[in-house]
């Protein structure tokens, strides 16, 4: 065996383990969302999450991967490992959507949207940057996908949420927002920890090569920065809500950690760990502000996905101009604008098409009873007398 062959094996394994960690994020999104919706819609959000991951995998296999990378010619590690690693990213983008449209979106329409997003919409913009297209030529830097994955997912979600409207009872007649607490805080926390763990694969794997001391050093720094940003994001959100309202709102803290993760994703290999802490801290504060702002504007996003992945994805993209010598603010802005416009517009058209054909919103009585019974035939916790028909 030559050293190159062994390095090939090692790099393949590194990528496969990273991909397995990202695959695990599908469970993270499932648990987070299952914890943040009401129990009457929990089974249905689980169905959506399992199926979106399944559809993404097949659609990207059959169409998306080729659309994004042409016929990629990976030489230093197994081609299939590359496919697998890229595939779990598209699933992540779609997972972001499910949370934002939760508790009112028709299952069939959601699955069709998932099919098109993962087969076409996501890969098209992915080809512009990671596929070697015009954005990469413009010098747009997005290491692991603050924009390409997270903001893209949030853009698709935003288009859906705008067409769907808020959940019944979310806003009083005078327009003031009402709280609709999620049913299961331990699940939401578990989901966040799963995402946090999976993110080491998400960012750590995006170096794409482990062999060589430079690569190893870079990956180690990526791990440290990823963790630092998440930790500071959680703290930033905590400090803000604790000062503002005394209460330590767990869901905001969880969103803060995720916001830090999203923000650092655009470039986790450049800043020092202390800078990563600052980036995370900022994200934790921004995400709370953004959630409050959108909520007041009538944008009903049960899990805060648009703020976490969209707003903090953009924030992360822009910061790269500061942390990385290879990037400049102009191309970062351009890249962000290009990704957002494309994904948002294409998604809007697709949602609109679904709206006039199949419909995208469950009817009022289904929404009151909960989609678990109407669409799935079984409630998430069928033994508990819950307040589901309130």
């Amino acid at each position: 065996m030559t050293i190159e062959q062994l390095a090939y094996s090692v790099d393949t394994f590194y990528l496969l383990m990273s991909a397995a960690l990202v695959m695990w994020m599908a469970a993270g999104f499932s648990m987070l969302e299952a914890g943040m919706v009401r129990s009457k819609n929990t089974t249905e959000i689980l169905v959506k999450n399992v199926l979106l991951y399944s559809i993404a995998g097949i659609a990207y296999l059959v169409i998306g991967y080729r659309l994004m990378y042409g016929t990629p010619n990976v030489e230093t590690y197994a081609q299939q490992a590359d496919f697998f690693f890229q595939m779990v990213f598209v699933a992540t983008a779609m997972s972001i959507v499910s949370g934002a449209v939760a508790e009112r979106m028709k299952l069939n329409s959601f699955l069709l949207f998932c099919l098109v997003l993962t087969a076409v919409i996501y890969p098209v913009q992915g080809s512009w940057s990671w596929g070697g297209g015009f954005l990469s030529e413009l010098g747009f830097v997005d290491f692991a996908g603050s924009g390409i994955v997270h903001m893209a997912g949030a853009a698709a979600a935003l288009a859906g949420v705008l067409l769907l409207g808020p959940r019944q009872g979310k806003y009083a007649e005078d327009g003031t927002s009402r709280a609709i607490p999620g049913a299961n805080m331990p699940l939401a926390t578990l989901g966040t920890f799963i995402l946090w763990m999976g993110w080491f694969g998400f960012n750590g794997g995006s170096q794409l090569q482990l062999s060589g001391t430079d690569n190893a050093n870079a990956i180690a720094l990526v791990f440290v920065n990823t963790n630092a940003a998440a930790a500071s994001g959680a703290l930033g959100a905590f400090l803000l809500v604790r000062l503002k309202w005394q209460k330590a709102d767990l869901t905001m803290i969880l969103n803060g950690a995720l916001a830090g993760l999203v923000a650092i994703t655009a470039e986790p290999s450049a800043p020092t760990p202390l800078i990563a802490c600052l980036i995370g801290l900022g994200a934790g504060v921004i995400v709370v502000g953004s959630i409050l702002f959108l909520d007041r504007r009538g944008i009903d996003d049960p899990v805060g996905a648009i703020s976490v992945h969209g707003v903090c994805g953009l924030y992360g993209l822009l910061l790269v101009a500061w942390t990385s010598a290879d990037a400049n603010i102009l191309s970062q802005l351009l890249g962000a604008a290009a990704i957002f416009s494309w994904v948002f517009t294409a998604s809007l058209v697709l949602w609109l098409f679904l709206k006039v054909t199949l419909g995208i919103r469950i009817n009022a009585s289904e929404e009151r009873i909960g989609s678990d019974l109407t669409d799935c035939g079984v409630e998430a916790y069928p033994e508990f007398v819950s307040s589901k028909e309130n």
Partner: protein, 112 residues
């Protein structure tokens, strides 16, 4: 005084509560109950087997009222809770002998 017991569909609780408040009713106690009656639970399928939930989720309200208000309040509940489908529920009225407000020790009319 009367004690009104109303068994209603859970989804109608907001309307009934509003109607009760409009009718001047200041307090009530609600319980989550399960009912059995003419309304049959529609079978769900779980793993292909019928999942016949015989008992249906209902909401019970207990409301203590002045005797002279009873009829009015019963009507208010009826109107707010009616959908016209089986399972709308029942209202029962019992005679209430005595009532106490624990906080103040006030009794009867002034307690409810």
């Amino acid at each position: 005084m009367k004690l009104i017991i109303a068994i209603i569909k859970p989804a109608k609780l907001p309307e009934v509560r509003d109607a009760l408040q409009a009718a001047g009713c200041k307090g009530m106690t609600i319980t989550e109950v399960k009912g059995f009656g003419q309304q049959k639970s529609h079978d769900e399928l779980y793993r292909g087997a019928p999942h016949h939930a015989e008992f249906l989720l209902k909401t019970r309200l207990d409301i203590a009222v002045q005797s002279e208000d009873a009829d009015r309040i019963v009507s208010a509940i009826e109107n707010a809770a009616r959908t016209g489908n089986t399972g709308d529920g029942k209202v029962f009225v019992l005679s209430l002998e005595h009532a106490v407000r624990i906080r103040t020790g006030e009794t009867n009319e002034s307690a409810i």
